[in-house]
Amino acid sequence: MTQLNIPDSEYMYSGHVGCPGCGAAIAMKFALKALGEKTIMVIPACCWGVIAGPYPQSSLKVPILQTAFATAGAAASGLKAALDMKGDTETTVVAWAGDGGTFDIGIQALSGAVERNEDFIYVCYDNEAYMNTGVQRSSATPFGARTTTTPGKGWKKNRKKNMVEILAAHRIPYAATANIAFPEDLIQKFVKARQMKGGTRFLHVFASCPTGWRIPSEMSVKIARLAVQSNIFPLYEVKDGIDYTLNYKGDRPVMDYLKIQGRFKHLNHKDIEQIQSMVDEDWKLLLRKMNHNQRG
């Protein structure tokens, strides 16, 4: 067995109320190992608003500011400005939002913050639906998935929005994807983001959700890993919106990822072929950006 290089430090208490196997909880645990105690978490409405604990408890050893659903980007900007005014240059402000709070209702505040190049880290933990309110579709829900608002035959027929590309188009200093099944890569990216300072850094963290995806909790990490191995969720980094680095090349068919999840159970062979060709297309597009970069 290979030994993972993961810090022992722990900034999350046990006993939080996340579901067993919750990828969002795993994401926070690893992220804080990289971020350390000089961190303030800004959390809009999402599952993490609950996992953080009910008043007067907290599941984190770092300060938390809970904020309204659409406001992570703006509230984090304001908090950072206050720390600047107090001369605190040490603390890292981290906005920690779900995919709904990032791709949908929060995209305006996020875009504004990135355009102003505010000095904080924005993390989107992506479980591909509005889980806190009972698994409704978001614009991060992938093509093919059933949710409670895309039920039965009405499974989602639209593609997932590409958030990293939207942020790259802002020329954000650093944007990267990460995944709970690749903790070393994830931690390394969080460390990089923490050390960067001076502008906005965005981390898109794939975080499986056993409850919403209708998968057994013990499969949570394995399925998250398969998302990378099948190139559905490629691991890559973008510096200044132009400088692309690929961290992993997958070679598994999407079938391996889709067939073990309840939310995709209804898909037939043709649907899966369609998804495979969409993934191949996105993958090619991504590789073109890598090549472009290498040619300089």
């Binding site: 105690e37 000089k38 961190t39 303030i40 800004v42 608003g49 609950v50 953080a52 604990g53 009910p54 008043y55 007067p56 408890q57 907290s58 984190l60 050893k61 770092v62 300060p63 938390i64 500011l65 809970q66 904020t67 309204a68 659409a70 406001t71 980007g73 703006a74 509230a75 984090a76 900007s77 304001g78 908090l79 950072k80 400005a81 206050a82 720390l83 600047d84 005014m85 107090k86 040490e90 603390t91 305006q108 505040a109 875009s111 504004g112 355009e115 102003r116």
Partner: protein, 384 residues
């Protein structure tokens, strides 16, 4: 030093002297002059502050909520559509007990687009937990903005300083703008009750189950109940340094009045003139200017209006399907008092229509000449 300033700049001068540390706002007419002046102060170094030029009013309020939670003295300004867009976060700011100050320029809501004076925007936010103070002139705006910081920081509630669109925001008047050291004597640096800090980690705004939520809301009301007393202390200290005070309400010729007209904002200035003209004709009329709307000064309303013959409320706002909003609140304050007077509600001046001396005189005569109100609201000055 006396300066000739427009109402908007009475706000920005006060904010400068209050040494606000973080500001955030989104432009909307007629609030723009306030934020333009403050942007300049931040650019030229007059103020040591951060001004977050966000992409919406929703984000502006969220940004000052973040900044205030981080322990900074904060400011924002808006109007009309912008205030409506902030609504969610107005509740947030007060329930988070943050002493944020906002200048709110009263402007009509669309459609149709109308940038002129109307109070419905701020009054529609009456249940959001903000202290609301309505200003009559430029000096009042300046003084109230400074006082708002003392008040907000004492009770940990946000304050809305409300001023009329154009009649006040864009009208030039002489305003006494004191030196920094005098202001510093009145308003010391902010020492926040709560301040997010990594050396003493805690969580703000956590989920509040039914076992704790009601107490949190009750605490807000307890803080509101302290406001009249603290406001009066703040006013006394302000008067000791600057020689001016206003009170939550102001009585003008009320002692022997048979009809008292209740007015707010710049309409009070017009009403002063109308009252003095009517007085010289021998009419027993008085005026009660309402400055503080939240918390509602129920005791003062009862004391000043409880035993007069008739009350005439001038509302430059309207709650559709009900009546003028100030009239509603005054009726509610009086109804539990024995033998309370009839309350006549008048709607006028919506969407910037002038509230002329003639209109106010008409309101007086209508009230004097009717035993009881013909309607909960009488609209005055409607075109045929």
């Amino acid at each position: 030093m006396k300066k000739v300033l427009e109402g908007s700049h009475a706000v920005s001068e006060a904010v400068r002297l209050a040494k606000v540390q973080v500001m955030s706002a989104y432009p909307i007419t007629p609030q723009t002059h306030i934020v333009e002046a403050l942007s300049e102060y931040c650019t030229d170094g007059t103020m040591a502050a951060r001004f977050l030029l966000v992409e919406s009013e929703h984000s502006a309020m969220a940004a000052v909520i973040g900044a205030s939670s981080g322990g900074a003295r904060t400011f924002t300004a808006t109007s009309s559509q912008g205030l409506a867009l902030m609504h969610e976060l107005l509740h947030w700011a007060s329930a988070a007990r943050l002493p944020i100050i906002m200048a709110e320029v009263n402007r009509a809501l669309a459609p149709g687009w109308n940038i002129w004076m109307d109070q419905t925007d701020s009054l529609a936010q009456r249940d959001t937990g903000w202290i609301q103070l309505y200003c009559e002139d430029g000096q009042d705006v300046f003084d109230t903005t400074l006082q708002a910081y003392r008040l907000a920081e004492a009770v940990n509630l946000p304050v809305m300083v409300v001023l009329d669109a154009f009649f006040l925001s864009h009208t030039f008047e002489p305003v006494d703008v004191p030196d920094q050291d005098l202001v510093d004597r009145f308003l010391p640096p902010f020492s926040p009750r709560i301040e997010l800090n990594t050396s003493d980690p805690f969580a703000l705004g956590q989920m509040a189950p039914p076992t704790v939520y009601m107490e949190m809301r009750h605490d807000i009301q307890k803080a509101m109940e302290q406001v009249p007393e603290i406001f009066s202390k703040v006013e006394q200290e302000f008067a000791a340094i600057f020689g001016r005070s206003y009170g939550p309400v102001e009585r003008v010729h009320c002692d022997d009045a048979q009809v008292i007209m209740v007015v707010t904002g710049t309409a009070a200035s017009t009403c002063r003139k109308v009252i003095s003209d009517l007085r010289s004709q021998g009419e027993k009329v008085g005026m009660l200017k309402l400055k503080m709307f939240r918390p509602f000064p129920t005791d003062l309303i009862r004391e000043n209006l409880g035993s007069v013959q008739k009350v005439a409320v001038v509302d430059r706002n309207f709650s559709f399907g009900a009546s003028g909003i100030f009239a509603q609140e005054i009726r509610a304050a009086l109804c539990n008092r024995n033998g309370h007077p009839p309350v006549f509600g008048y709607i006028t001046g919506l969407g910037g229509r002038d509230v002329t001396p003639e209109i106010l005189a008409e309101i007086y005569w209508k009230t004097k000449n009717s035993a009881f109100p013909e309607n909960e609201s009488v609209w005055v000055g409607l075109n045929e």
